[in-house]
Symmetry: C2
Subunit: 213 residues, 2 copies
Amino acid sequence: MPRTPEANQRIREAQRAKILDSARRVFARKGMEATIADIAADAQISMGLAYRYFADKEAIFAALVQQTLSDGPSMTQKLLQVPGTPGQRLATLISHIVAARGRPETLEVYQLLNHALYAGAMPDDMRERLGKHYQMLLETMKQLIIEGQASGEVAPGDPDQLVAIMGAFLDGLTRWAVQDPEQFNTYVPDAEIILRLFKPCAEEKSSSERLSS
Amino acid sequence: MPRTPEANQRIREAQRAKILDSARRVFARKGMEATIADIAADAQISMGLAYRYFADKEAIFAALVQQTLSDGPSMTQKLLQVPGTPGQRLATLISHIVAARGRPETLEVYQLLNHALYAGAMPDDMRERLGKHYQMLLETMKQLIIEGQASGEVAPGDPDQLVAIMGAFLDGLTRWAVQDPEQFNTYVPDAEIILRLFKPCAEEKSSSERLSS
């Protein structure tokens, strides 16, 4: 019995996902030197089959970045729909960002983006879209900080500066996780400690609040 | 009247310092592609004169790293001799580290180290000594955190984790300052905000301390 068009479509999608999965690992490990042959070997398929899905390794790389650009923002949106006060949502967002750096797939994505940026192999439009995605994340944090400061949940301080500090911190965290995943997973930062940056101390509350606490 | 040997020595030292000053700028801007010709041009001297001080550009590069390795630890030692409680000394150390990233010369050093590390152009012994210097800095922070926690000046938390977080944060801060010095100097982080990571809240002090404050 011949396969139905739906079954064929499912097989094609699974094959494509498998190639991208291998490509993520291979690009993360070898950088932009990775070849279609390396990717096909990792996926345990022939090079001919790989070429039926992607014209060249640049197309595979573009598809990986595309995937990151689709997954990232939708994850951020999902996190922001979690119910709670601004302070709780900020805590959820930051905890997720920190925890994500402990996962091998996320690390591989950061590694390959890092290779591509350094090698100048990132097309301008992708670089721009990645930049916008990152800006959106920082804007969201800023909004939650401003709302949290208004409700007294978040410590005072210039929101732009707090966001810039958090941005630098997350960048450093990513590099650490990429360079030494084992050490990172041993000392994987407790999001509670990082959130101290935003936590108002009792002395910053009004004295009546302090006495009643 | 011929110059005295002392005067000659002073002139040689000033010339060498001038070459290194230019080299720091040029390596920071051009990376390992920089040539002796670039450095001589920046220093406004002939290439022949540059070669009288350094055998090749690798020797200039090595001298720059050597300078960093001598200046860094002695600065750390000086900061640690500042009188004060462990918490105050930790605050001084971190404020200095943050402020240093706003200075062009420090940024140039970070840029050139970054180029060299990425290009694999850092000799093993230098890489090892830089690593040791960095470890010593983190060890010092850890010691101050432990002492500060004992005296109640520093918030509780695993000292290794606190140090790892601070290390990631400083790394991110360095990258930010290197990539966008202008933006960094606009939002140059207030060390007070960063020190919140270590600041115990009033509710964590004993109730008698809180009432008397």
